[in-house]
């Protein structure tokens, strides 16, 4: 035993026993997969109890949910369409989370991104469609980026709590949108539902060939992959993780924490703004109150379920998009309110946050403990599951 322990008393982990390393590799990563999946199952089981308590059949509910969200090519396409803005909205939470910031006001960036894109689309009418769409995307990202970047700047330079300020700014953004859409930017022809002038057909974003899903899905997936690369493979991502762990240590290391926070939050808001631009250019055709459809809030849940890992956001956004998409069918088939999916989402959210307490508690996921049961006598957190 003694030779597997280094001079500092720390067990030599990898490579000490050759045949264990593959298993160890799996065990270390299994935790990040098993605990969230188990939590979701627990959350869905609790939701079954809730459905039973209101006198409906959970089996029928999940069957309907499956049919509405995932059971056919049609419903899968519907879910994917809803996943597109969720991917970007979740990045708006996940990127700042790497710096230890809890930003929950993505809805505001989506709304303003949509308005900015719609205004740009109208202002550039006549320009070649490629440039116009590009300009709309840039305008949407800029609007969202400024909005959430300001939250980051306030956090760093004024110590204003980012969770509260971002949500307040979301309400301000929605008021601003209503003001612009019903005033300055209003298309006089839109009577019942005040909207900006409709975009020219050439400025609309179409569907991916062979699918009834717009290109926003591809944009969202690319954004997730780029964000993952940024966090895991670049020095900025590395610096952000250090600053997220301990701001003072990062400052002592000479990291420019301020620009890092503003940069990450601005990029996060830019992604949410892009989601708004895609809603305008691919779905609505103009900016109106439908922009505040709650994608920003569902995106919070997506990011937390994915534990702020941009690659994990992709499947989770699809899952939540499917749950969202099945809401209408559940309402019609089972005579339940449309808020049923909100209750499920809330339960999943609570359970997944509760599951944080189980990380590091299971011996199976921690190869260090396989050969060193005495380490279990260490801190509280490691107790209980030996």
């Amino acid at each position: 035993m003694a030779d597997t322990v280094s001079s500092a008393g720390v067990p030599a982990m990898l490579g000490a026993k050759g045949h264990l390393t593959a298993l160890e590799w799996i065990a270390r990563r299994a935790e990040a997969f098993v605990i969230p999946v188990a939590s979701m199952i627990v959350g869905m089981a609790l939701f079954s109890l809730f459905i039973l308590a209101v006198g409906k059949s959970p089996v029928q509910l999940y069957e309907t949910m499956w049919r509405g969200g995932f059971g056919s090519w049609f419903s899968i396409q519907n879910s994917l369409s809803r996943a597109a803005p969720l991917l970007l909205a979740a990045l708006c939470v996940a990127l700042p989370a790497r710096l230890g910031l809890v930003v929950i006001g993505g809805e505001g960036a989506i709304v303003l991104g949509g308005v900015a894109a719609a205004a740009t689309g109208v202002a550039t009418s006549g320009a070649p469609s490629f440039f116009a769409i590009l300009a709309m995307g840039v305008a949407g990202m800029a609007a969202g980026g400024i909005w959430i970047g300001a939250v980051g700047a306030l956090r760093h330079y004024r110590a204003v709590n980012e969770t509260i300020s971002s949500l307040l700014m979301a309400y301000i953004a929605i008021a601003l949108m209503n003001h612009l859409v019903e005033g300055t930017l209003r298309d006089p022809a839109s009577l019942n539902k005040p909207s900006t002038e409709p975009l020219a057909d050439a400025y609309r974003i179409g569907n991916i060939p062979g699918m009834e899903v717009h290109w926003g899905l591809v944009v969202g997936v690319i954004a997730c992959i780029l964000s993952w690369l940024l966090i895991e493979k670049t020095r900025w991502g590395f610096a952000a993780r250090i600053a997220g762990g301990n701001v003072r240590a990062a400052q002592v290391q000479g990291l420019a924490v301020g620009p890092l926070i503003v940069g990450f939050t601005a990029l996060a808001g830019g992604f949410a703004g892009l989601a708004g631009m895609l809603e305008v250019a691919a779905v609505q055709g103009s900016a109106n109150a439908s922009l505040a459809a709650g994608y920003g809030y569902t995106g919070i849940l997506v990011a937390f379920l994915a534990r702020h890992n941009p690659l994990a956001i992709i499947p989770v956004a699809f899952l939540l998009g499917g749950i969202d998409a099945s809401g209408g069918l559940i309402q019609r088939r089972m005579d339940l309110p449309d808020a049923t999916v909100l209750v499920l989402q809330g339960m999943l959210f609570v359970v997944i946050l509760f599951s944080e307490t189980f990380y590091g508690r299971f011996k199976a996921f921690n190869p260090d403990l396989w050969q060193r049961p005495d380490l279990l006598k260490g801190p509280d957190l490691l107790k209980g599951t030996a």
């Binding site: 330079y157 509260i164 300020s165 601003l176 989402q345 809330g346 609570v350 509760f354």
Partner: protein, 308 residues
């Protein structure tokens, strides 16, 4: 004096009346949150509790015909939400802010779920006391028609201010909020104290919700709160965790919230939506003005994650 003659004087008068009317939920939520935060935890879920309390109060009042039973039911529902938050946050690595966000969504979702059938029917209102009887100007009478809950809230603010300083319970909450270690050394269990403090905070937020649906605006809709619970949380920080400060700040916020309807009532329709954003802007400006990166906030409980 004719009612139409008071002209623009109607704006400050409507704002005074509005401040009293609009501020009541702020008073209850912020006092509840002040108790919770003084114990060292932050509960952002009060926004969801407010919405669920509003729905519960309305539903019970519709069914039983008694607004007071609705109020009690809302307080009980809020208590349950608060106790749940307090219980779940005692586990290691469970983040109180994140749980608050989850309960915000969960509480609203549950309220929308059970509240669907109650959007149409009308419930009896909580009673108000007409302090404006001496005047024959209808606007003055309207402004001084004060709901009993406002008076209870004002009394509660004074009581809590006194209790934090002068009672054993107040001392216990403050010790737990300032240092878990010191509390343990005194033989107190911080988790139990925080559980109770969060539970009471939730119950008060539920009462705030009952006021929303049973008095002003006085009906149950899904957009009934639109962030008031959250603003109340921000307000507690601005008030430096002082119950009297909470009361004053709530009046200020109520006045800001009444600006939009007050201007509309005298015929100003330009920038209508921007005036509705006034309370949010005010909250944000106050947060910017009163925070500082170089010093921690005076009076902040030491264990509070939001100020660390």
């Amino acid at each position: 004096m004719d009612a139409t003659e008071i002209g623009l004087w109607g704006v400050p008068l409507a704002m005074l009346g509005g401040a009293i009317r609009v501020s009541t939920p702020f008073i209850f939520v912020s006092l509840g949150e002040a108790i919770t935060e003084r114990s060292g935890r932050i509960n952002l879920g009060l926004e969801g509790t407010l919405v669920f309390g509003a729905m519960t109060a309305y539903a019970v009042a519709v069914i039983t015909g008694s607004p007071w039973l609705g109020l009690i039911a809302a307080a009980f529902a809020g208590l349950c939400f608060g106790l749940f938050h307090g219980w779940i946050c005692k586990f290691p690595k469970v983040n109180d802010i994140a749980i608050g966000i989850a309960l915000m969504l969960f509480g609203s979702g549950l309220a929308f779920f059970f509240g669907k059938p109650f959007i149409q029917p009308s419930a009896p209102d909580l009673p108000a006391i007409p302090f404006g009887g001496w005047s024959d100007i209808p606007q003055v009478q309207a402004a001084l028609n004060v709901n009993v809950l406002f008076l209870i809230g004002a009394a509660l603010a004074v009581f809590l201010w006194w209790a934090f300083r002068n009672t054993r319970a107040g001392l216990i909450v403050r010790v737990v909020g300032d240092s878990s270690d010191a509390a343990r050394a005194m033989g107190l269990n911080p988790n139990t104290v925080r559980l109770l403090a969060t539970g009471i905070g939730g119950a008060l937020a539920g009462i705030g919700g009952a006021y929303l649906s049973l008095y002003y605006p006085g009906s149950w809709t899904e957009g009934i709160s639109s962030g008031q619970g959250l603003m109340a949380v921000a307000l507690v920080i601005f008030a430096r965790w002082n119950p009297l400060g909470c009361f004053a700040a709530a009046l200020l916020f109520g006045g800001a919230g009444a600006l939009g309807p007050a201007l509309q009532s005298v015929g100003v329709t330009q920038g209508y939506y921007l005036f509705y954003a006034a309370p949010y802007v005010l909250t944000l400006l106050i947060m910017i003005a009163t925070s500082s990166p170089s010093r921690s906030l005076a009076g902040a409980p030491g264990e509070l994650s939001i100020t660390k």
